[in-house]
Subunit: 392 residues, 2 copies
């Protein structure tokens, strides 16, 4: 017989999922009601309204897709890209590569603009790509690369797209709630995020928003959307608010309770305050790590506060350290991906995980673990350096 | 400011979601851990093993898709159907129509076999469709039509597909855990279900299973799967078990805790015992309803015990009754769909909702509500009729 699963209590400081607040977990466990229940529909409207606030948009098509961020990405491409469409895709990490894969699978032509992993997308290269190609339908890029911890200049990139009469498609999985993001101010046409990063919700839902221009593009497609589940024309009939809802699929009721509660918590804190909190805790973590002698992969100007990619000290066994942190401290940090595997760790400070307690735990656990392995680090200085930032 | 959402406590006897056990809700609220955590991976293996048991299959590709049943349906069609493929789709309710939509969106040619809503799929018509068409790649049908409460003869239909060297694609959203289902015994090639029906889990996850023959078809496609999120080649790299898992998407960790717990509960009860429990409670509900003078839409031989479509008594205002049940009894029952709207109610007895308490509540609430509206029903007899079945 299989027995009930009782997970260990971890501290989640990897690239996501992040620590989930007990308030959000409690919300998730409230009694399930029908997805057409008037009370549920009222809650859906509140979720939509709060997502608009945090995306900083008036877009009517703003809603949570009933599946993880990968499906949110697919929702953008499957609706907006038709066979033969030319799309400039920026790749400076794992998720740009996934965007390319999306374009190609829907019959689009992908023009790839590549930058080194760990660097921001080059605005100049994107300008050059537009100059070199006609009839570009869309520019697609990742605002916050979860694989490296890089923030790219979404505002400047969207401006280039607008100047060239192209749509902008933006991956904000790791940025929403953690750093500045302004959908209407920057003129973003299609954006998707995830619940398990800076919103500190369990994974499984992908908030998306489409501009009116993007909605028009979908409505005027020459071919049907090659997905029934993700067709925004149908999904909006369900999430459309106001009058009668058309049944499309059964919404993940309890997962939406959780999202609702996490958005209420963000409303209580204030979006700008949450951005500032991420920055503050990043500075404290950085001070501690640098005092230890551990350096950052990403240039200071392009660093995401919520995802810190740092070099693994010389001669240290990556997997052994992460296993020891998990075993001895119940602390999860992330491994590097691709060419960065074994070279960097990814330390997340996302949402509810961006606390002083977590910063101090992480520094203490890393210091003890590395010292036990005789790694070349400075000991006895990290905690004080971090504490100094908190007391500023 | 938005406030936390506190749903009313309903009794869910509609077409799904069904009542969720407190054990499952408690599991869902356990602390989130990383989706690559060794403990999470152990739990994923247990979920896969239990799904194999309840689908009655040895299929290696048996796993929960990280999205609702509609996405499970799409996973079957997007992987198996290529442009130009001919598919026989049986339609005797809403969900057969959705299968047709899937075939067409992926470029397939749909040969529709239609039966009246409320009747089972005609095995003879399907045989005739195969006789009239060559090179049929797949037969697709709904085992348990949620829109009408009809069970079709999945075993006989799959046999026809095999005899004609075609794949079978089966919608088991409402059947898994509620009535007999035997994936390997009946030779089903691709099947999808949902968590929010007879598994009594919150909605949002879709268990699927593909036979080795179906996996070969996917591997030998001429064109890439036009979905990245649902490409089984990629998803299986993540759910594949055994060795190292390839990151594909972030699994909905807490929703899978819930599914795990609901499967543990089904294991404790025993699959065949669960089928018998659904049948027993159906018989009691039926006795009560018939004593009241309320009749069934579906012929006795084709009725699903877990979804009872019954005629609304003459002159009764459908919506007013359902609103009164919700307001006065916190009881949800389902409306009719399509041509059956206003003519039938759909009363679910799915999973944890199939209890004596619920049967008696439903009969009492319906009797009182209908009597208050002077509906032409027999009063004072339903409870006794149902109780007689329970005491058999």
């Amino acid at each position: 017989m299989t027995t009930s699963f009782h997970p260990p209590v971890r501290t989640l400081m990897g690239p996501g999922p992040s620590d989930v607040s007990p308030r959000v977990l409690a919300a998730m466990a409230r009694p399930t009601i029908g997805h057409l229940d008037p009370e549920f529909i009222r809650m859906m409207d509140e979720v939509k309204a709060m997502l608009k606030t945090f995306f900083k948009t008036d877009n009517e098509l703003t809603m949570p897709i009933s599946a993880p961020g990968s499906a949110g990405m697919e929702a953008c491409f499957v609706n907006l890209i038709e066979p033969g469409d030319k799309v400039i895709v920026c790749q400076n990490g794992v998720f740009g590569g996934r965007m390319k894969e999306n374009v190609v699978r829907f019959g689009g032509e992908c023009i790839l603009v590549e930058d080194e992993w760990g660097t921001a997308i080059s605005v100049e290269k994107v300008k050059a790509a537009f100059a070199a190609h006609d009839n570009i339908k869309a520019l697609a890029f990742v605002h916050a690369e979860t694989s490296t911890g890089v923030r790219s200049d979404a505002k400047a990139l969207c401006k280039i797209a607008q100047d060239n009469n192209a749509l902008s498609i933006v991956d904000a999985v790791t940025s929403l709630g953690g750093v500045e993001l302004d959908v209407d101010g920057w003129g973003i046409d299609a954006i998707y995020s995830g619940t398990q990063k800076c919103l500190s919700c369990p994974p499984g839902i992908s908030p998306v928003s489409f501009s009116d221009k993007a909605v028009d593009v979908v409505k005027n497609r020459k071919t049907p959307v090659p997905s029934w589940f993700l067709d925004t024309n149908l999904v909006m009939g369900y999430w459309g608010g106001g009058g009668k809802r058309a049944y499309h699929h059964t919404a993940p009721v309890n997962s939406l309770y959780a999202l609702h509660e996490s958005l209420v918590m963000l409303e209580e804190e204030g979006l700008e305050n949450a951005w500032a909190r991420h920055q503050k805790h990043h500075l404290a973590l950085r001070a501690g790590l640098e005092a230890m002698g551990i350096g950052f992969l990403v240039d200071e100007a392009d660093r995401l506060p919520q995802l810190n990619s740092v070099y693994i000290p010389e001669g240290v066994d990556d997997a052994a350290v992460r296993a020891a942190l998990l075993k001895n401290y119940n602390l999860e940090i992330g491994a590097g991906l691709g060419a960065l595997a074994g070279k960097v760790w990814r330390i997340g400070l996302m949402g509810s995980a961006a606390t002083q307690r977590n910063v101090m735990l992480c520094l203490d656990a890393l210091e003890n673990t590395l010292a036990d392995m005789n790694a070349p680090i400075n000991t006895g200085v990290a905690a004080q350096a971090a504490a100094a930032v908190f007391s500023e």
